[in-house]
């Protein structure tokens, strides 16, 4: 049972030096980052080309307590903006071996949206990556370009076969 919240006034600072910070806050909350594929909605918040500078900052942040959230938001936004500067940021992010493979995959996919040509080049480089997940996505990207038929990855069963039950996770 949820009670009716009490109204307490916030304390906010109005200072023109905070313009970039306010824009960052708007991107965090109103752009919203990666989204649910149901309805395929994205980009309800209008980004500006000048936002690339903030998005670059977000993509490079190394605060582990943020849990990769700024990076995912930045990659989604950079994919929307689709500028040369966006592509540069995404190339760096996709190649960052310190980052979680899931984040690198997100950056590669965003890069592919910004520039399929650069996406292909990056995928060629990442096709030899140490991480299997990154390698797999790089191979799939190359295959989509009709290049480098990658070592075939096993497909899962089709509708004609009976469904399988995953095994119980003992951990």
């Amino acid at each position: 049972m949820t009670s009716t919240p009490k109204r307490v006034r916030s304390v906010r600072i109005d200072d023109e030096r905070l313009a970039v910070i306010r824009r960052r806050q708007a991107i965090d909350v109103r752009f919203g980052g990666p989204s649910c594929a149901v309805d395929g909605e994205a980009g309800r918040f209008s980004l500006r080309p000048s936002d690339v500078a903030i998005l670059d900052v977000m993509a490079r942040e190394r605060d582990p307590l943020a849990g990769g959230r700024p990076q995912r938001t930045a990659y989604a936004a950079l994919a929307e903006l689709a500028t040369l500067e966006s592509a540069e940021v995404l190339v760096t992010a996709a190649g960052d071996e310190r980052a979680h493979p899931g984040l690198r995959v997100n950056a590669l996919v965003a890069l592919q949206r910004v520039s399929p040509g650069l996406g292909r080049l990056m995928a060629e480089q990442l096709g030899k990556d140490k991480d299997a997940v990154v390698r797999g996505v790089a191979h799939a990207t190359l295959a989509a370009h009709g290049l480098h038929a990658p070592a075939p990855r096993p497909r899962t069963a089709r509708a004609t076969t009976a469904k399988r039950t995953p095994r119980r996770d003992p951990s």
């Binding site: 970039v20 649910c36 594929a37 149901v38 190394r62 849990g67 965003a110 069963a157 951990s171």
Partner: protein
């Protein structure tokens, strides 16, 4: 037959760090400011610390220190991670409550420690406060060179007794951001209180306790978390006898059942601290509580305790049977042990979101599909790959299949549900949802999952399966965008969920 009660667990708890998902203190050392003991502790040897200090005395800035380290000064991987040598290593190292507690209805303060390798002309610190009855934001500007910031709040923004959470963010003028979460249990300034909550709940807010039907034993269990808070400077000793009452229609309505139990063991509430316990009620057939639960009627539980100095405290909470659904959590591909733990912490978080709207989980079953078995579907590149995964795998029960994949490489999406609502049979390619596991690398260099993102993300996709559509309201669970999503489920949405075919009363 009558309801019986007993204490299941008790502990003394510091009022600061109340939630178990507070941010850890972040060990990040600014080499331009740290003293020798701090550098020695980090670098592990006095010689390197001396070297670092001598560089600093010669006026070496961040770039010069970076360059020197890059030119071969041997540092361990741990030291490199903890030495703030790069501009991007902007962080909040700690958030402290100066007195060690926050009193209800009184001004309060936080101290925020910043680590910033860059001399930013100013920082903005924002604190998003959530208490049991309100949420608001307090902002503070920080001048150049200040690294410990005191955020002070006046009496008009005093907090009520109970849990409160501070989500602290610090910004540089270039827009870069660092975050930290600190939680407290706000102590009574009057100065003794008793609060009740559902056992196991972690979020801040008020909601109901659950009457849980134990099928094999044919009885209802009601588990409550009890918090006795002492805002005084002296310890308080409690009388061991605790009185309980179940009311129909609120306190003072019809008394359903009552009794007492003994609060054994430690009964001292420490000064400026809390004593916590779990109390379980067991209601067999024939008891008034069993009958009310069986008829799906709400009740109010009241607990009354006394201090040996004669003061009496009491707390109440609504209790009810809840509708419930089950989930099969299916890991697709490899998860590290830390990622595994984070995944189930996220599932707990999802349960809390639904329980705040009186819907619970009837079970969580754990499954795994290995990398070899999953093949290309460890990463979902497209809707067709998602459909492939669902066509190939399912768990034959009436729980919702939740596939947690290594990553979504499908546009900038991170989750999908095949149909709204999902089917009631495990056939075809719409009988499950999929989410990106939302990984990152933590301060120790380990792969982790972001539970703050993943819990609501699973809850969102499951919400589709239960029949919920997208909304555009910020802070609602069914907002399609991750950054705009929050825990709110509306009453209308609750009614939609309630009609889903796999919901059962638990």
């Amino acid at each position: 037959m009558a309801t019986t009660a007993r204490v299941r667990a008790k502990s003394v708890h510091d009022p600061v760090g109340w939630r178990d998902d507070d941010s850890p203190t972040h060990v990040l050392v600014d080499p331009r400011r740290a003293g020798r003991p701090e550098l020695v502790a980090l670098l592990g040897e006095d010689a390197t610390a001396r070297w670092m200090q001598s560089r600093r005395r010669k006026g070496a800035g961040l770039e010069a220190l970076q360059e020197a380290v890059g030119q071969g000064r041997r540092l361990s991987a741990r030291a490199r991670r903890r030495l703030a040598l790069e501009p991007e290593q902007f962080a909040i190292a700690d958030v402290r409550v100066p007195d060690g507690f926050v009193h209800s209805d009184r001004p309060w303060a936080l101290e925020v420690d910043l680590v910033d390798p860059v001399e930013s002309p100013l920082h903005l610190v924002t604190v998003d406060v959530t208490s049991t009855d309100s949420s608001f934001t307090v902002e503070t500007l920080v001048g150049p060179g200040e690294r410990t910031v005191r955020v002070e709040v006046d009496r008009t923004r005093a907090l009520p007794i109970g849990p409160a959470t501070f989500e602290v963010s610090a910004y540089r003028v270039d827009g870069s951001k660092a975050v930290f979460r600190r939680s407290v249990f706000v102590l009574p300034s009057n100065p003794l209180s008793l609060s009740l909550g559902p056992n196991g709940a972690r979020v801040t807010g008020t909601w109901s306790a659950r009457g849980d039907y134990i099928e094999g034993a044919d009885r209802f269990e009601t588990d409550l978390a009890v918090t006795i808070a002492n805002g005084d400077r002296a310890d308080v000793t409690l009388d061991r006898r605790v009185q309980w009452k179940f009311w129909d229609g609120g306190v003072g309505g019809t008394l359903v059942e009552q009794g007492t139990f003994a609060w054994g063991g430690n009964n001292v509430v420490p000064r400026y601290g809390t004593l916590n316990g779990t109390v379980g009620f067991s209601s067999p057939p024939g008891s008034g509580v069993y009958d009310r639960y069986h008829r799906k009627e709400d009740m109010t539980v009241e607990l009354i305790m006394s201090a040996i100095d004669g003061r009496t405290i009491s707390g109440t909470i609504t209790c009810r049977v809840m509708e419930a659904f089950g989930v099969n959590i299916i890991k697709v591909g490899s998860f590290t042990p830390e990622e595994h733990n984070d995944l189930y912490a996220a599932v707990d978080g999802m349960q809390v979101i639904y329980e705040a709207r009186d819907v619970t989980l009837r079970g969580v079953q754990r499954y795994i599909i290995s990398d070899a078995q999953a093949g290309s579907t460890t990463v979902l590149n497209s809707e067709s790959e998602y459909r492939d995964l669902l066509r190939a795998w399912s768990v034959p029960n009436d729980f919702i299949d939740v596939f947690v994949v290594q990553s979504f490489a499908w546009d900038t999406y991170n989750g999908y549900a095949g149909d709204i609502p999902g089917p009631l049979s495990k056939t075809g390619d719409k009988d499950g949802v999929a989410v990106d596991k939302s990984g990152f690398v933590d301060a120790a260099g380990k792969k982790r999952l972001n539970t703050d993102v993943l819990g609501p993300l699973i809850g969102h996709e499951v919400g589709h399966y239960l029949g919920l559509e997208h909304v555009s309201t910020n802070g609602w669970l069914m907002n399609g965008d991750t950054g705009s999503r929050g825990p709110t489920i509306s009453y209308d949405e609750y009614q939609t969920i309630s009609g889903f075919g796999w919901m059962v009363f638990e």
